[in-house]
Symmetry: D2
Subunit: 384 residues, 4 copies
């Protein structure tokens, strides 16, 4: 009997972490894909992930609007509550055999609870990692709700086991985002086309002459400082003066400060060497990364994809604190001087060695095989 696999995508950064899985489920005769797009993945101002998903050939079964505006801690909680209430109805209606949730954003708790309360086996992609902040709590709480774990590395595997999960239900598959890296690098492309394709705002420049990439998200537990944080980075990048591709942050408590900081800085400074994007296909983003001198900010991309690519990363602040990292990462605090120094060092040092810390590709197929054949269970109990 064909198993129905329901994947819930709630934000732009989750999509590349599951896309190769979606493709493999689509291609499998043993599985039927049910795709739910929710939260900021539906919103224009966070990059319209919904459109990307449709453009790439997937059919969306349900859309769940759940983001309560305000972008503070209260609305994060309220959004999760509304999402939970809605997803319960959606799962009841679609009747999946397995629900898949991705990573550790606050609103993914809605998926995890709805699925586990409905006694539907929950599969979690990307458990067992360590960061800090509210993501840390969310990630491990989801591990305790999940019945099936697809982890990126052996370190993550060991942590999920230590958390009391049954070793027959934890699989080291590598991270699906590495599948996209592999695939993206296999195709030819013309970097300069991105300005036409993704528009954005700011001046355009020759990518062949070297550039850096910036992706900086607000950090939820430091709400009032998000504006100060982003301004330090803006000053540092302005000071370095290198051609820069800057990617807009996700919705999160605090992102008002981040967005406001960027907007205000743009109006008051001459930032001719920076081009701002709201969205990009995962492949193009990877190729842009692969062509860059370094990535700056606090995105997990610097830790994860860039380990595989060997691209130096200036990692700012504590958002990725504790996350397993390769030698490509240079950690700095929220100081414009430290940030600009680190950027300069990265540019001088050049490309690092590849590190298979987060897998070496093939995760999508591996996960799909397990989804098709693993026993469906929802009962578990601490072994200690």
């Amino acid at each position: 009997m064909v198993r129905k696999i329901c994947v819930v995508i709630t934000a732009r950064p989750s999509y590349p972490r599951v896309r190769s899985v979606l493709k493999a489920i689509q291609a499998s005769s043993a599985l039927e894909l049910q795709l739910v797009v929710a939260a900021s993945a539906l919103l224009e101002r966070y990059g319209n992930t919904e459109r990307t998903i449709v453009d790439e050939g997937f059919t969306i079964d349900r859309r769940v609007y759940m983001v309560v505006e305000g972008e503070n801690l209260v609305t994060s909680a309220k959004s999760t509550g509304i999402g939970l209430s809605e997803l319960a109805t959606v799962f009841d209606d679609l009747g999946p055999d397995i629900v898949i949730t991705i990573a550790d954003r606050f609103e993914t708790m809605a998926t995890a609870i709805a699925s586990s309360y409905l006694n539907i086996p929950l599969a979690h992609i990307q458990g067992g990692e360590v960061t800090g902040s509210i993501d840390e709590k969310v990630r491990h709480a989801i591990t305790k709700l999940a019945d099936l774990h697809f982890v990126a590395s052996t370190k993550a595997y060991e942590r999920v086991i230590a958390l009391g999960e049954n070793e027959e239900r934890v699989f080291v598959t590598g991270c699906p985002s590495i599948d996209i890296v592999q695939q993206a690098l296999a195709e030819s492309y013309s970097p300069t086309a991105i300005f036409d394709q993704y528009t954005g705002v700011g001046s355009r420049f020759q990518l062949s002459e070297g550039y850096i990439v910036v992706v900086q998200h607000p950090v939820t537990t430091e709400y009032f400082e998000s504006r100060r944080h982003i301004e330090e980075t803006l000053h540092a990048v302005k000071e370095v003066g290198a051609p820069t591709l800057w990617f807009w942050p996700n919705v999160d408590a605090g992102s008002d400060g981040t967005s406001a900081g960027i907007r205000s800085f743009r109006e008051n400074h001459d930032l001719k060497h920076i081009h701002f994007f709201k969205n990009m296909s995962p492949e193009d983003f990877i190729r842009i990364l692969d062509g860059s001198e370094c990535i700056v900010g606090n995105s997990s991309v610097g830790i994860r994809e860039c380990a595989y690519l060997g691209v130096p990363a200036v990692n700012i602040g504590n958002r990725q604190l504790g996350r397993d990292r390769g030698s490509n990462v240079r950690d700095v605090g929220y100081s414009r001087e430290d940030i600009s120094d680190a950027i300069r060092l990265c540019r001088e040092q050049g490309r690092c060695a590849k590190d298979l810390l987060y897998g070496g590709g093939g995760a999508g197929n591996r996960i799909t095989e397990i989804l098709a054949s693993t026993p469906l269970t929802v009962e578990k109990r601490l072994p200690y």
Copy 2:
């Protein structure tokens, strides 16, 4: 500065597990109590815990209606979502320094998420235990969201530490429900008064001549069987024929089956020896237990309070599966013969020895001292 401690009570069985803490907070000059009563604790048909709380001298700061009717798995999830959305507003408004959540019922996840997403330190009473069913997932997920853990036993302590919690934030306090047992036994009382005080339905009888107590809740992952389960117990208790005090179950997915089973059985059988209650003060309930020949059903009271009391317990089915238990417990399946045999054996064998497995009293004061002095933190990270 006085710390504001917000306690959220969502169901009848949670109240005795926190009452001595409430009393101790009230008596402390270093703490201010904020009391939120929510979910089935507000509802007449689950025993009107709200009234009990008010009668016992506590002031309720907020009431949160959140139970979506239907008593199935979908409404469990929806209720939790609505509760989460409401509690976020409540916590934002009350501004507590610490939020306390109790045990592992499905809707307590709303308290845990609202508190942790608002960066308010979350204290969890009764983590680290093992049961099974959805409670098991909920309990350990809450441990991963909580910042402060008040556990009942050293076994529970070891499990919470194994789950990666910092040993400076985990405290073996014993279970506050044992405080009530201690206190209840210290006071004199007249057992027969309970019929007048709590009414209930069914005939009355002399408690001095021996009686058994029944408390049986539906088991969420076996929704369609809850009616069959309760009927087996009803048949067994009818067959034994001993005077019986039967306590109505809580709201839960499946309780429709349980309630319907009881109602229908009552209408079709002569149950002169059974008296049904919907609610009772924790102290009177303890004294009733202490005076009983045995407790029958699947309530944690049989495992926990009765260990301390030394009252034999016939524990039916897998609701308490995995939970640490003393020698007073006799486990049986859902078969009327097994249940009636076990009841007979318990009555013959008589009282067991006291077992301090879940503490020996004083938990309320111990917890309150820690609440007043412990550092307030919300950051944590897996140590492995």
Copy 3:
């Protein structure tokens, strides 16, 4: 092109008011039926209307759990809010051409707002009547949100026009509940079979020797008095002593008082001549009514169906205040003496003349023809 007609049923009494419309839509090749069952229509303890609907051959497209427990004014509002939020998703998903809402219960506002905010033409069955209480506000507010009005009588027509609606969008179709009366009376049936079919509680008796019917709902604006009200009726019916079929009330603010009153009275009095039912098919209920000496309580059935049947009605209190009524109705206050006197007078006087005040049948077909052919509009503007 086939028009999709989405009917939302939220409570037991709404079903007979639309059933002949559902049948006619099903039979029409120009229309496709989308059936949403919501609120108390899904709940066992309000008679499980869902099962009746399925048993009668309809397919339910969506189920919307939305009743927040508590049965007070706050939960009425919250339930409506949750229903609105859910129905918005449902309508967006089903994409109906017309949504149908029935009558004036508080939660029907959720249907009306979701439909009108989504720019889907809203058809309202049973506008233009006059009662009082919150129903009065709800009914006329829905008229102002609706685009198409199917009214029962010329008086109702005149009121809807006076409210500023366009006379091309208001249709006197008669009430569909009269279709059921017509049809029910056309079939033969054996009255005594109802005890086996619908069980209920209480003793059984020979219906051929005469009996009365009681249906009494709580009145929302007099919350604290609902228990007193029901007790007056219980005393009156006990005193009259006639064989009685008593039907359980709907969910509503205050019904806790009503239900509690009935339960407590049953336990403390000998009510051998009363049999309590929770539910009955509309046809059987009509035939039971048609065979009765009179109906007692505050249901609109006494005013509406009984006008057509010519069955005397003792109408208690102000729930039906203002509603157009025929000569079969005898209004009384909440006094056991007045109620028992009125019952005696009705029984002595015997059957009344038929009154076509609410139509004479055929409403289902008439409404369906209009649904298939009327222009679809959502714009309107006060004409004065």
Copy 4:
């Protein structure tokens, strides 16, 4: 006994329509003000009305986050549902004697239902007007839920009476927004200071040399056209070339199209003569209006305040269709040529005569006197 008056403000344009009432309640010893700020009035990107309210000396009792992001018809309905659910709790908690709701935005239905379902008398400011679109339905539905009506004009009075309201509960008070106009004109001010005070984006210019004002909101029932509409206006204003102060639209289904249209146009055209503002104090806005050559767009300000001021208004499209208007209004369709022609005619013709169509000031005091002395009723019934 002091009456508690709870005012709910959900959006920027509602605030000036109630501000003089808030001031008068604050000053009254017979009344206590309870202020709830909700929906887009809490959001930075819709002008942060919350901050304005606090800055002007009011204390906010509750904040209700309720806007679900997406800015489409579905999220309008969902936001209203969430607001209703939240406001029920707020009203239950605050226990007001009267709730005040303003005008006809979609989310005000949440206030109206929560209040009426809790049996709290609802006062409606600005009923009885005629527009079209969903506002029309909302406005008259709220009239049918409201118990007390404060209308702006005798025409509005006649319509509310025609809708079946009791003439003892309808009061012609004039619109409170005219109070602000009166007061604003009584104070001296320096127009050029607005650029420093409200920042905004775009170039600055000498207001003394003449300028026009633009305020254009999306029209909900024409969702897909909102982008095209705004572009026509942008082209017209660009073509006219006059110095322009442009005010950002409110949250509403369709505003994504409007906002996106403005942003994109700004990036692709040279708009040196246009300055964009997100917010302004009501007084400054009035004085800016009073100093302008004309107002362009579809705001009710052009119809209402500008009637009193005698400022010509180019009213675009059907958003104000049906609304009573003075001779200052010139209606045009969505064509850049028509719009630019009308702007030119307005500028040539110059100032119009004052028209007291919406009152002549003093509404705040008049409303407050009635709030303090009127009987509190929630029962009503159609008189026809």
